[in-house]
Symmetry: C2
Subunit: 338 residues, 2 copies
């Protein structure tokens, strides 16, 4: 079943995000300025909470993708900075609402906004950032870009609702799970990539190429994230390992370990995930079972599979530094885990 | 201080919503169809929850205003139906998020969605409806309408966050409270009215007129709502009386009664609103104090004041059935309370 993955090969195509950072450095300075100014408000709580989110780090991968995708087709205006900022705001709004929905205490090892300012502020500041995102998109004035991004907004929310349905449901199939992350995560990557060629007035096929790149990069990115939550292939347990497990989230490593497990193992998963007995000892056992059944390695294998589709999506495009950087990011995302 | 209001005059200008209903009947049939179809999703929870909201009634005042405002300037396309539906979705999304933020159990005497499906689904289905609203607006293709509606989305959320700040704060001034409801309620009425002349390609001054009408109708509407929550002028206590009080909301009737009250009365308000001692006996006393200080009558007086501004905003426009219906609605909104 599992795609064969040679973990020893990890180093060969480790990939890098450096090229993307370099190419988008000056544009990202303007994105960061715009983030700060558009997260401003006379209502004090809004900039407070926004600053917390902004300083929480994160690589700002999505806006960099938008910027590079616009540059790649010779775009020379200012619209890509606004669209990239909109994409980041949509992402931030989703995180704020997610933390409320998942009742998360920590994100990237830091207290979540809802723990500091409460669920109420998180819901409403999320709404505010979404409103600001739409304002900026409208300012850019491209109806095609607006269509792609508003579609994404609805699809993301649909994916989140779908995820409520599969939550704590161990019978979720891999297909069902993929449908969730395609909507919840990949839709925004896809839109982030596609609006680049859109404002650069590139061709239909260029739009399709970037759209496909974004979707598949997003899927790979999410699957790697899922694997990392169980320590990844290296069993190097970072400080945030086990968040998904403790919240009872059914992600691909769980789905594979559950389906491949013995009756007795499946009872363990039911107790842990559905019965909410996900303590440290259970996490330890979960990780052992995952490795026994190749669930982590195969999750990463699936990520590689989507990474290859992303790479092929860009293949026919003219060689540019932006194309090279976007391809490099695929491997970078996957190499986080090996 | 209070605007002089002769409650006995109530019957003279009772106003009516019948004209508006009649003029928008066939368009509203299409709005209702569009609501049902755009609230549809393969993700079962979404149409379930949406149907609950749709069947909860409500007068659909905002979309009717959009439709009439478009008709008024001779609009003959289909865009007004989509914009009206978008406006209603924005309103519904706000209600869903509000109920989560306010931890409300009941709305219009019915269980809130969050009590049936949980806060999680309410947050996410709200996001979905907002995404669908933007999708529809984009389909209409008017960047001016998009600007007005996306501005409103950000301002509404800003108003909600502002409201968190004034919540349970009895020192809130009337001005501060007006700023909250201007953002939270009036901004959507304003946008709902302005997009009519926008898609009908009416003049700048027509846009301004409708915008001003919407803003002031929204303010009047909210103030009347606030008064009704304490039984209105007639002391006819409907079944939903006291919701704001129990949730410790500082609305204009409370602000006026508190500011005009004795030291001892102010202690009562502090215990009830800030100390969360808002039981049935306290509600009874609150209503008595409000009447003693003319707080309800003057809240309605303020509503009339904004109603008059709304009427004057439309005054220079050519006489049409739509104009007459929109003016009639001002009095209708205010007469709910007397």
């Amino acid at each position: 079943m599992g795609v064969v993955v040679n973990l020893e090969d990890g180093k060969r195509d480790r990939g890098s995000i450096e090229g993307l950072i370099e190419l988008t450095r000056s544009d990202m300075t303007r994105v960061n300025e715009l983030i700060l100014s558009k997260a401003g408000s006379d209502v004090e709580l809004i900039p407070q909470l926004a600053r917390h989110l902004i300083s929480s780090g994160g690589k700002r991968l999505r806006p960099m993708v938008t910027l590079a995708a616009a540059q790649m087709f010779g775009y020379s205006g200012e619209g890509h900075v606004k669209l990239a900022t909109s994409v980041e705001f949509m992402h931030t709004a989703t995180l704020l609402h997610d933390d409320v929905v998942d009742e998360s205490d920590l994100r990237r090892g830091k207290q979540t906004a809802r723990m500091i300012w409460g669920n109420q502020a998180s819901v409403l500041v999320g709404d505010f950032l979404l409103g600001q995102a739409f304002r900026m998109m409208v300012e850019v004035g491209s109806l095609d870009a607006l269509e792609v991004l508003s579609d994404a907004a609805a699809v993301i929310a649909e994916g989140e609702v779908m995820q409520l349905g599969v939550a704590k449901n161990l019978e979720t199939t891999e297909d069902e799970y993929l449908a969730v992350i395609k909507a919840k995560t990949a839709a925004l990557f896809s839109a982030a990539a596609e609006v680049g060629p859109i404002i650069a007035k590139a061709s239909r096929s260029d739009r399709s190429a970037l759209r496909s790149y974004g979707t598949n990069l997003g899927l790979a990115f999410q699957l790697v994230d899922d694997a990392l939550d169980y320590g990844g292939s290296t069993r190097d347990l970072g400080k945030n390992v086990g968040d998904d497990f403790r919240e009872g989230k059914v992600t691909l490593p769980v789905i594979l370990a559950y389906r491949r497990g013995s009756e007795e193992e499946r009872r363990f998963w039911k107790d842990a995930i559905e019965g909410e007995q996900a303590d440290a000892a259970a996490l330890d056992k979960a990780i052992r079972l995952m490795h026994r059944h190749g669930a982590i390695v195969d999750t990463v294998g699936r990520a590689r599979h989507f990474g290859e589709i992303a790479r092929d999506a860009l293949a026919p495009l003219k060689a540019t530094p932006q194309k090279a950087a976007l391809v490099d990011v695929i491997d970078f995302c996957i190499s986080r885990v090996v």
